[in-house]
Amino acid sequence: MTEEQIAFYSQGGKPMKVEQISIFLENKPGSLENVTGILKDANINIRTLSLADTTDFGILRLIVNDVNTSIKVLKENGLRVSRTTVVAVEVPDRPGGLHSILEVLSKNGINVEYLYAFVEKSGQNAVIIFRFDAPDAAIDVLLKNGFTVMPGEKLYAF
């Protein structure tokens, strides 16, 4: 990546970030199915997801092809939803892939709130979804160290 690109992405910040939907769910049968049903009816495709759970409740995090429509239909169905910003980083799908990113982040004192991952369709790369306290600083560091940060648009249309 060129110096110009780095400057563009780290100053503007936005194009590099990904919008994720967080949904509050009770830990009971049917909660997840309710959400997937709502999204299916709205013709939404889920790109990737993760579920953080406790004994009582869970937080479902989704990356979808249409964030605005998803939030609208979920809210209409009475769910508690929020839009959160995450960063998607592409790494080669091989031993040490994730480690190489964490090493850089750690060296630069960047804290990871949570992360989850999936493998690209081609099977060549893995995509790690990170939630950072300070996403702009994280993007800056990642780009400077040669990692590929996936823009939101690319991920939604994946």
């Binding site: 967080s22 509050f24 769910l25 009770e26 909660s31 953080a52 759970d53 406790t54 009582d56 409740f57 937080i59 995090r61 809210k75 009475g78 769910l79 508690r80 939803v81 929020s82 959160t84 709130e113 949570y114 939630r131």
Partner: protein
Amino acid sequence: MIYNEEFETLPREVLESLQLKRLQQIVQRVYHTVGFYRKTFDEAGVKPDDIKTISDIRRLPFTAKQDLRDNYPFGLFTVPMSSIVRLHASSGTTGRSVVVGYTKRDIDTWSELMARCFVAAGLTKNDIIHNAYGYGLFTGGLGAHYGAEKLGASVIPISGGNTKRQIMILQDFGPTAICCTPSYALNLAEQGAAMGVDMQSLKLRVGIFGAEPWSEQMRDEIENKLNLTALNIYGLSEIMGPGVSMECLEGRQGMHVFEDHFIVEVIHPETGELLPYGEEGELVFTTITKEAFPLIRYRTRDISRLIAEPCRCGRSHIRMDRVTGRSDDMLIIRGVNVFPSQIEAVLMGVTEIEPHYQLIVDRSGTMDTLEVHVEVSEHIFSDSDEVRYLQKMEKRLSKDIKEYLGITAKVKLVEPKSLQRFEGKASRVIDKRKM
């Protein structure tokens, strides 16, 4: 000022001997005229002659609201209808209404007690009283009306409703005192302000508010908005109507129960055991002068406590504290009395949650457990979408409940609209211990 100085300042021992004499008479009368009392006294193994000291009242059985409903409408009257000059009735929102009757003398007594209330509030015959309690089957309107006339004050029988007209009359007639529910007082203040009326410059000096539970915070708010002194009055139709007890201007803390006409006790709502002065429990009243519809040890379901310390106003009658809740709603968890309203007070004002909650009481081994289920609001993720943040919030709410109520509760966040909704009185408690 004291309306009936002789009776309101009777030395305690004289007052108690008067109470005993009147109690003995009323117990004889109900036993010999009302089948219900004969039956319950016999079942409890107590005869009217057994009442030899004032504390013998404890041997008498309680009367519950259900007993009144079972004897609807006139079953507990002790006089023929020819002696009854008036009937009132409760609204009956929670079941069959309760009908109460008054003889001419009962009306006179009630009028005097209401007159005592007005004088305790600093009113004289020179005052104009805006009486916005509802007139009709409800005891509030006519009760206050007769008391105002007894005192010789000028009474405006405005009754409830038609707020714009009320505000016009408050400006034009210049009443110096107002009687209504505390929530209606706030409503008047707000609507008046919305109409561009300076509600702080009215001639109102005193407000006598009752018929619903209210708080000290609400008192401050009313006093500020209407620029008057707000006083608390207590009563219930079963016992008489408004004027069973009244706060005095001098003390402004606790309401004097007119003990020459009523005997008040505070009992443990679950066990029925008599509680010492100062302890919170359910109020129980015995009417000792009523003719048409006397009641023996009537369980009010109202929660309060008695204040035995003498009041600076000079009245010897005991005071009862502000009613804090209804025993119907009260839970006893690990020996601690808990009202849903107290939990509500903790949950209120937390933006991440809705004011919809449910309390689930259960027993694990020998320990009672309390779970508070509360619906999350749309602001649930306003700070973070992390699990630990929500868990921290649950813990913080538990800690607040612990600090405020002294009991450990597990707070559980639930999805919106997952808790049952209620049209009328909300039932927020599921007590699994009794199943």
